[in-house]
């Protein structure tokens, strides 16, 4: 027994030694070491899988994609970028982190040689290109997509309550805040609800001239336009124009496909939600996934003012050792006509690269939207979006502000108190922001 054990041990050990030798051999022979030749890319979705496959085939470069779930992405990426240990060569950044990472200087300056990203400035949707710039106007990250928003509504309800289901006509009716509320009343008369919740109105409440949350002096900007959100939200609630189904809640999803129950003034009624305020990706990632029975009954149109929601940018890590290959990949992702044409046709993603969109935009039609060409619609919306209002504080400030508005709508606080509380919270979260 003892002999057997020792024999096995020796055997195991020698295998270990041998394999160690062969490992060393192979590493030695491939000069630089195979690990260093891999282009490392980090992202938070599997979206990049297709482009990476194309890139590997075309350029003969091996790519290693690391996908970190959104919730952990920033927390995992930051230490790697700070220390440079295990850092990716290319990484994507969602709008929520874009400005923060641009300011931190994690991304290579693409305005310089040899990238000269400025050359493509005319080919990319202006607001998308602008958002990738740092304070000094240098391009740090590029994006392949544009994510303007619209209002998705159910055609059958529009026909019944508004007399038409034509996106242009419905959009015209909702082209102002007053118009929006009028449509809401018409829908109410027929037993429908304009929006699922009061938060739906947040993009439009600011009007046509939205301001950044924080100005150049690092002061909190709370314009009248921003404060209107309180009043519009309250009006929606008091006039019973919403289905009391908060965004991302179970009933919010349920309302896409079937009538939902609402308790109003002690009486339970069944109602249907007319529209959802969502951007480009809302169609594929939210509506198509949840609205199965109503597929084909939808259409998309514009609200009182243009807006965008989300978006992903991509750039090169400043200390990457494979900057050339990295930029090749980014070029493929953002400026390659052949690849992008294919990509757009396959995924329906609304691209930001004009030379491609110009060619393909006319032949899009989406079954889910009753054959409507949403591609052309969204590209039109994208043109009217004003750049320069995104700050690194947006996501957190929007959350805090949404909570403040909600406490007013629910009648827990007066408008003044809610605003006071919001300011206090901003000061607490960001001591460097000047709050009056």
């Amino acid at each position: 027994m003892r002999k057997l054990v020792s024999l096995l041990t020796i055997g195991a050990l020698s295998v270990g030694v041998l394999s160690a030798c062969s490992d060393g051999g192979s590493e030695g022979s491939s000069s630089e070491g195979s690990k260093d030749d891999v282009l490392k890319i980090w992202s938070f979705t599997d979206e990049l899988k297709e482009p990476i496959k194309t890139f590997e085939e075309r350029n003969g470069v091996k790519v290693e994609l690391t996908i970190v779930p959104t919730a952990d992405y920033a927390t995992k990426l930051k230490p790697a970028l700070e220390s440079g240990v295990g850092a990716p060569d290319v990484f994507t950044g969602e709008i929520a982190f874009l400005k923060q990472w641009i300011d931190a200087g994690y991304w290579e300056n693409l305005s310089e040689e040899p990238y000269n990203a400025e050359e493509v400035s005319g080919d990319i949707v202006p607001y998308v290109f602008d958002l990738g710039k740092d304070k000094d106007g240098n391009v740090r990250a590029l994006s392949w997509q544009t994510t303007p928003g619209g209002i998705y509504y159910k055609r059958s309800i529009a026909k019944e309550a508004l007399g038409t289901d034509d996106p242009a006509e419905v959009g015209e009716m909702m082209s102002s805040m007053d118009g929006l509320f009028e449509v809401g009343e018409k829908l109410k008369d027929k037993g429908y609800k304009l929006f699922p919740d009061e938060g739906s109105i947040r993009w439009f409440a600011q009007g046509d001239d939205p301001q950044a949350w924080v100005n150049e002096e690092n002061e909190l900007v709370l314009t009248e336009g921003k404060q209107n959100y309180f009043d519009y939200a309250k009006e929606l609630r008091e006039n019973n124009l919403t289905a009391l189904a908060p965004e991302w809640s179970p009933s919010w999803f349920e309302g896409m496909d079937k009538p939902i129950k609402v308790k109003e003034g002690g009486k339970e009624t069944e109602t249907e939600v007319f529209s959802y305020v969502l951007p480009t990706w809302g169609l594929h990632a939210v509506l198509k996934e949840n609205a199965k029975d109503t597929a084909g009954d939808w259409a998309v149109t514009s609200g009182p003012s243009p807006y965008f929601w989300g978006g992903t940018w991509v750039g090169i890590y400043k200390d990457s050792k494979h900057k050339e290959e990295a930029y090749d990949f980014i070029k493929l992702m953002t400026q390659d006509e052949e690849f992008l044409t294919e990509w757009a046709k396959e995924t329906g993603d609304v691209l930001a690269f004009n030379p491609v969109t110009e060619k393909i935009k006319t032949d899009f039609s989406d079954e889910f939207l009753g054959g409507q060409n949403n591609y052309e619609f969204f590209l039109g919306e994208a043109e009217s979006i004003k750049p320069g209002i995104v700050t690194k504080y947006d996501q957190q400030l929007d959350t805090l502000y949404g909570a403040a508005v909600n406490s007013y709508v629910e009648g827990k606080k007066s408008k003044d108190d809610a605003i006071k509380e919001f300011k206090k919270q901003v000061k607490n979260a960001y001591p460097d922001i000047v709050v009056d």
């Binding site: 179970p250 009933s251 349920e254 129950k261 609402v262 002690g266 959350t399 629910e410 960001y430």
Partner: protein
Amino acid sequence: MKKLDRYGYLFIAPFWVVFLTFSIYPVFLTLYYSFTNYTGSPGEEIVGFANYTRLLTDTYFIEAFFNTIKIWGVNFALQMGMALLLALLFSDLRLKLKGLNFFRSFFYLPNLITISSVALLFGILLDWQHGSLNMVLMKIGLISNPIDWLAEPVTAQLSVSLILTWMWFGHSFIIVMAGVSGISTDYFEAAHIDGANRWQMFTKVTLPLLKPILLYIMITSLIGGLQLFDLPMLITDGIGSPDGSLNTMVLYLYNQAFKYNNYGYASAVAYGLFLITLIFSAIVFKGMFRNERATQKKGA
């Protein structure tokens, strides 16, 4: 002899390496950060006790402290009540309840569910307009209008307390049960012969003999309770809504550090939390210990 000594060190080395790198080093690094204005990128400056003075006057932190205590307190009272009641039933010599093993695992089950699933599950159950809880309550006529459980501070805190109770009473029950079975039946038989009723047996025999076990449950639950984070984070918007009522100390710490990038201040919050935990544990321990000595003296 000497050689053997050195081998010993070698064997404990792996633990120490891991312990020093992943426990001790971060503890001191946090202490250092708590005296700086670190924001996550290098280049922090030493700011002295500024973070600590801010902590003492920070109404959000103080609010978070009381929220945590409230949520934990209600949960602990209910959880212990249920655990003791169940232990009492299952240990009763006259009742002779069967299926202890089954119930032990059955009551423990909620504890095995991932907290994110629990949050999702209760988010659906407690939904205002469409949640099952409101539907049931309205069907049986207890309420006429749906209650928005997670929108009112009191009901939101109560909901979290009750969910925690549901998750943890089985755990406490197992430990209490272990303690009860450790008590010799001689005592109960003797008390029975002396004519003690159930209540007297419970208060005069079971409880005093369970004291070490109860102390253990209390301290572990307190330390865990003061670190309450995941459920309040997941069940509403993650910043403690409604009205900051679910803003617990660790949630506040998390938001300061990972959402607002105030790592320096968050480190000070962490040390504040550490001190509070220390003080509370000391109070609980002391209180229990003194009582014991007092009763001993009385007895003597």
